[in-house]
Amino acid sequence: MKKLLSVLVALTMVLSLMAGCGSGGDEKKETSAPKQEADGSASDQGGSEKADAGTEAAPQEEGSQNYDKVKIASPIPLTGPNSQYGMAYKNALEMAVKQFNESGGLGGKEVELEILDDQSDVTQATNLANQIIDDKDVFAVVGTFGSSVGMATAPIYQSGGMPLIAPNISHQDFPQTGDLLVPISPTATIEINGVADTLFACTGEGSKMAILYATTDLGVNVNSILTEKWPELGGEIVYSNSFVSGETKDFSALLTEVIALEPDIIYTSGEYYDVASVILQARQLGVSEDVIFSGPGQCFTQEFLDLCGDQAYNGIYCGTLPAYFEDVITKENYSDTMVNFMTDYNNTYSEACNGFAGNCYDGIMLTLLAARKVGTDDPKALVEAIVSYEGYESVSTEHLFFSDYNYANKSLCAYTVKDGHFAKVEY
């Protein structure tokens, strides 16, 4: 028994130590927050005007809505393998809520944001989901990265009457799982058909494609759709094989076979580091210079350029995620909301702005603006307001609109890489 006591003492001591350093951690966040305040406000004027401009058009009867619920919960992966995407979400969420509160919030009340870490682990995410639907003053959930977490928690939010706005879930069953679910990115089927058309336009008749796809829901979809559509368009699929994203680092076995088949285009469906590995290892294995490398929208990140910028020449990367790079974004092809968002983000945070942050910002800003319009007590009305919101200037695409209730539509953008930088591709 004496031993058991020593355990309890050790445990309480450790917990208090952590509480100390835990709050220390918060202070660290707070200290950084005011810093944000100081320099953020300078450039903020521009941003909030834009947000105001967006909201000005909204009808005036704001006062009549009731805003008893003012909290948004965001389960995102702050730790674990997807923590880099979790960080992008966190930054975008905090930035959007700050801008929204400065431009009046919900009828004068400040919106409260609660960020929770689910490690993109299904068990923890479902625990959190149950905790959130119990929380009486949460009116919407903006978050859940990754299809497996999204698909596992969607039924819980749906049955708990809690709208779920998921910035990056492209699982094709997600939208139809419930009427309170709003994916901000289009489902894989919509996106891939668009990608196939774009790629075909660049490569032309009879081009031979090799597909390497990750064993994720997106990868499996991409493979099945491309193997069908590409021959329809007039191309030819010469090779199609899968790999386990994150675990398979060595692609040389696959690439040796692919190179032997002399394809015109190698499409890799996976994370940005999978695409980078394919390119680097293919170059090492002596792939011919005129082979076109292609990958999804996830590649439009600074990390991708760092990994294989100088080797990724002669590539076409196509997806609905926007590419926030000064040398690509010019006045005509990008709205100034997007440009402002990028400058705001890059001034405030050390990490470079990327499409994930853009999607997440759209997700939460659209939710907040809709909430301001229809109030926060009726989830169904809130979701209807979100999907039918007029005049919202999206930061992640020229024109974001929803078709048949909650299927998001975004314009495709395609870029190539020229001496280490993204450049718009003409086709």
Binding site: M1, V14, L15, Q131, D134, T215
Partner: protein
Amino acid sequence: MKMVKVFFAKNLKWFTILFFGLLAVLPFFMTSNYGMRMLTVCMLYVMMAFSLNLLTGFLGVMTIGHIAFMGIGAYTAAILVKNYHWETLPCYLAAILLSGFFGLLLSLAALKLQGYYMTILTLGFCEIVRLVEINWESLTRGALGISGISAPVFFGIRLSSRRSIYYLMLVLLILTLLLIWSIINSKAGNAIMAIREDELAARAMGIHVFKYKTIVFVLSAMIMGLAGAFYAQYMTYIDPGVFTVSASLNILIMAIFGGLGNLLGTIIGASVLTILPEMIRFLAEYRNLIYGILIIILMLVKPDGLLGSVNFKYIRQQASVQKENGGE
């Protein structure tokens, strides 16, 4: 302090009945979904820790791929419910039989292998099962996972409310505990522990070692299969990403922290380590780092787990001897 232990050991039976009575009554006081859910998940992990303790604690076979059986059970139930609309009881039966079969396969290997070679075999087995789940798309829909698994249905009655699911889990847990407890406190339990202590001596005492090893492997696999079947219908969505080696290591840490070879210790260990990550959620990104440090500290403070070296039967017996000799 010794008196407390002796008192506790003496009426352990009453304490257990009291404990499970409390669990049965709790839902009426607890309204929050989160609370109910945490308890159900806690009981699920306790059930799995029981199964692992039976294999590692009592038989002494160290396994780090135990979650594979849960995966097999989960996918059996999910496919049967989703595609063939079976009722839950036949699903549970199918899940139990299938995972039991794979448990039998592993016990055949355990005939030849000892120590770390057996451990690595379980690691390999777990990885192969996971890869089959990922790539056999026609059966398991691979990485798309199986979604929309309906709630359990017993003889036509659908258990959809949180409370009914909670009670289902409670019943499963009690059945598992009774099964393991009755086996451990019997001649089979003695034989199993004898094999753990010294296999050769056990053989010399007339114990059919292979028979008992198979019984333990098959039983612990079946319990995991049952837990998997429940998990599938409880989560309504499963995908291969859940049944990884690191998940098996989590259960192993729970069993060891609770105390190998001690059922009560397993209950405490599994519950504490299920709730702990939720408790330190306020640490956000540092949570995992602190969890790792905590595991090290707990292993250093209590190497053989909370109740690892405690055997209540022996405490009871030694106390009765002392009473007999007038406690001089």
